[in-house]
């Protein structure tokens, strides 16, 4: 039972790292970045590249994943979103543009690495198993949970306590006012994408480490779960995304534990059923404060 709990927290942590980047872009720019699963996947592959080609240890590879995908995120914005922002296009256009971008990149990765599972180099990942109480826990997963919490704490610090964070929050609240108040909008947007994609990339690398199996389409299932996470937690709310992620993680593992084997597929339905329920009953989600319904 305790093992399942650790598992749930692990799953929740990955969801959280993924969703928080997604939510960040949404809260600042009001768009759903459908290319986010791409940076998630790229992070895993960047780590692979660093470890197999340069022989870097996993820890450094993860750092590299963060930096490379962060920069890639800025590139993504320049190519797919910035031209639309310039002419004031509605959010749907941005979604579709990022979709096109994602299709291209994922396909390129499939051409390079093949659509099937790839593993990290043998022996490059720690294999310890710890005994905590009466549960046997994978040390790597525990480490990942710790890292995820650390990263989210770092994000909280940046958003609340730094000038950059204040700029980003101002931009999220009211873009026009922010511009008038002298916020360097371009820099704030670039920083938003750097942070969002970097976190997504690290999440992908960490997940890759945990399962030791990565593939170009690995981001898509997380993208769909991320919708639920954001809606449950409240669209546009970062703490909401984190909360939603853990609720989903725990809910899914609980569903797995309590459902008979034949109905295991319904575990996925749990996420979407929840999504649906929240949108219909309390569209604002738990911590959201954005207008979800039309006036």
């Amino acid at each position: 039972m305790a093992e399942q709990l650790y598992n749930a927290i692990f799953v929740g942590s990955i969801y959280a790292l993924f969703a928080v980047g997604f939510a960040l872009v949404f809260s600042v720019l009001d768009i759903l970045n459908l290319a986010h699963p791409v940076v998630f996947m790229l992070g895993a592959f960047v780590a692979l590249f660093c470890m197999s080609t340069f022989g870097l240890p996993a820890a450094l590879a993860a750092v590299a994943a963060f930096l490379v995908t962060g920069l890639f995120g800025i590139f993504l914005d320049r190519v797919a979103f910035a031209p639309l922002r310039r002419r004031g296009a509605p959010p749907l256009s941005a979604m579709i543009s990022s979709l096109g971008f994602a299709i291209v990149v994922i396909r390129l990765m499939e051409l390079r690495y093949g659509p099937d599972l790839t593993s990290y180099p043998a022996g490059s990942l720690p294999q310890t198993v710890l005994q905590l109480g009466d549960a046997r826990v994978d040390g790597l997963r525990l480490l990942i949970i710790g890292l995820a919490i650390l990263l989210m704490a770092a994000l909280t610090y940046v958003v609340r306590a730094t000038q950059l964070g204040r700029d980003i929050r101002a931009l999220a609240e009211n873009p026009r006012a922010a511009r008038l108040l002298g916020v360097d909008v371009d820099r704030a947007i670039a920083a938003t994408f750097f942070i969002s994609s970097g976190l997504g990339g690290v999440a992908g690398a960490l997940l890759g480490f945990a399962y030791n199996a990565i593939y170009p389409q690995m981001g898509t299932p997380y993208e769909l779960k991320a919708f639920t996470v954001m809606v449950v937690g409240g669209m546009g709310s970062l703490p909401g995304a984190v909360l939603g992620a853990y609720i989903l993680g725990i809910g899914e593992i609980a569903a797995l534990v309590f459902l008979p084997a034949e109905l295991a597929e319904l575990r996925d339905a749990f996420a979407f059923g929840l999504l649906f329920l929240v949108l219909v009953i309390r569209p604002r989600g738990l911590l959201g404060h954005r207008a979800v319904e039309r006036a």
Binding site: S97, L99, R107, A269, F272, V292
Partner: protein
Amino acid sequence: MDALGEFFRVYQTTIGVIGINALLALSVWITLYAGQLTLGNAAFMAIGAYGAALLGMRLGVPFPLGLMLGAGLSAALALPLGLAVFRLRGVYLAIATIGFGEVVRVVLLTLPFTGKALGLNGIPPLTELWHIYLSLAVVAYGLWRVQGSTVGRAWAAIREDEIAAASQGIAIRRYKLAAFVAGAAIAAWAGGLSAHLNFSIEPGDFGFTRAVQILVYAVVGGTPSVAGPVLGATLLTALPEILRPLREYRDIFAGLILMGVIIYLPRGLVTLAELRKTRRLQEIGAADVA
């Protein structure tokens, strides 16, 4: 003439698929025209596909009746769904319909009589090309005429400015629901036709990816007129065939076309026709999709 006959025989399935995709694109177009972004039409397609196939195979229901019942079932589900979500704006509506789509997919994976993950096999190939194209012609014609009527204008008004539209005496909920339900029914009809064109169907055929694909047909083709979705579906379905030698890179082209259109020709490829009049890309790029 022989060459034409040969062409038909080789590409028969593709031509059929083009027609079905055009129907699906039109099903999304209606809701886009009324200002709603739905990603649930792949699920309605699934309901039509499974409905018609199961009714035909297990209960011996004649094909046309099976199609109608499938469409009817979809419409019946679309109504409460639409009521539940019509107030949600933009992105949230999209997400809600994605959620619905996933629930349907998972239910199909779980219900005993749907064949679960293996899907349904051995569906009799009852669909003829003329079924598909007659349906397409009827639907396209109907939508074209509706576009110029009070209903079409009401939808356009809702899309442009819902708050102002309400004050013009337009019952917003009723009109949005009508578009949503009509789209669901058309998608289901297309699904029923599709199931009897291919020999088998499985839940994975009707997921998020498919829903996005249908949306892309409509958006790339263009939203100002009925011709848009048909054009988009034709082009994007035929593209893999045309680019067969470049099979590996087809998706990349598709993705690039998608980005190019949405950034430079946001109302879709049909607006290229307006180039003759205005000669300036900026002018047609002025307005956006929805």
